[in-house]
Amino acid sequence: MRLSSRRGLLLGAGASALVASRAFAQTAPAAGPFTLPPLPYAPEANEAAIDTRTMQIHHDLHHAAYVNNLNAALKDHGQIGGLPLGVLLTKLAELPDTIRAAVRNNGGGHANHSMFWEIMGGPGGTPSGELAEAITRDFGSFETLRTRLETAGNTQFGSGWAFVTVSPEGRLGIAQRPNQDTPLMEGGRVLLGNDVWEHAYYLRYQNRRAEYTRAWWNVVNWDAVAKRYAAAKAGTLGI
């Protein structure tokens, strides 16, 4: 599901995948309700944790595939496809059997990656203001939050994500999910999350996932996270 055979045909050998994919990304039909958001910064922006090549492949190919596959799954389901993504993901149980897995995997992948790009591109450091107070209240310290999120990522066996969740009241928690599942599917909201699929870190870190999850803090954009926190409390955080 993640890689359609069409992509396999279009993309040549692995070594030329990036070049070929660029062509693919530009010529792919934008048929369907969902579109790939551009990276909100240059792919070099996360070099303090994530190499440029990984950013390009991850956004231009992996994320693009989720969007394309999600649109393909919804092609003949106009009414469902008109739902906002955050709402769609709470209705998996009501979807036709023929598209449920595709929407779960690709819709989850679209939501997770859209959030992921949004909360990176920053200088790392520490949160401030109301968010910092909430972290101290709910975790005891920022360092405890860091350790708990890293542990959630490091112990997610196989592909998946580690999240900091946020309630409408602003309460924070830690969650891990396999593959492209997300707390959005249970009606929850994600403050921030880290991708621990091997594609997120393998080119630079290989098998050393724990090094990646520790270095990742270097590129978190706490201003963007603070905006998500305020939106969650205001009830306006869509995904």
Partner: protein, 212 residues
């Protein structure tokens, strides 16, 4: 007896001309597989695994469902990789299958081309980490299937694998990046040692020789 990492049956450079580079083999065997062995040995005492074969441990962990996952993740991955190294070879690939295997694939799966397509689709559609398999089912017929993460057809009770391909991204990311279909094509056309697969067909599956 402790679990051990079996040496690769070829050098880490042996498959470089066939789409699996030295760095992939060094990491995959020396780091990933080794980590599963180390973690599994660390569970022997706390999980009461002493005296059991790896095959028994995998089957019992599979039956235990969610409770069995901590053991299955490591034990399944140990077994899966032991098989994986065996079914590849520097002299692998090609479409000339040994007679008994070819006949069995013809009769049970509709021929080599149909098998390859089904096997490739199983690998492509295993969302996230996992494996695609050719197994001997309980009815004695060959069947293509897939499993997530560290599970395998022994843990699901589906049958005896005689061929398996790792579709965790660590298996192919250095060589093929995101293009899993090309990795699977390459595996089937250049890497599979069909003589080994026929040997496993005749013996009824792999006995790892590993135990706690």
């Amino acid at each position: 007896m402790a679990f051990s990492l079996p040496p690769l049956p070829y050098s880490t450079t042996a498959l470089a001309g066939q789409g699996m580079c030295q760095e992939t083999l060094e990491l995959h065997h020396g780091k990933h597989h080794n980590a599963y062995v180390t973690a599994l040995n660390g569970l022997v005492e706390s999980k009461g695994l002493a005296g059991k074969s790896l095959e028994t441990i995998v089957a019992e962990a599979g039956k235990a469902g969610a409770d069995g996952l901590p053991v299955l993740n490591q034990a399944g991955q140990h077994w899966n990789h032991v098989l994986f190294w065996q079914v590849m070879s520097p002299k692998g690939g090609g479409d000339k299958l040994p007679a008994a295997l070819a006949a069995k694939i013809d009769s049970d799966l509709g021929g080599l081309a149909a098998f390859k397509e089904a096997f490739k689709q199983a690998g492509i559609t295993q969302f996230g980490s996992g494996w695609a398999w050719l197994i001997i089912g309980h009815d004695g017929k060959l069947k293509v299937t897939k499993t997530p993460n560290g599970a395998n057809p022994l843990s699901t009770g589906e049958g005896q694998p005689i061929l398996g391909v790792d579709v965790w991204e660590h298996a192919y990311y250095l060589d093929f990046r995101n293009v899993r279909p090309n990795y699977l094509d390459n595996f089937l056309t250049k890497l599979v040692d069909w003589d080994v697969v026929e040997g496993l067909l005749k013996s009824g599956g792999m006995k790892s020789g590993q135990g706690a």
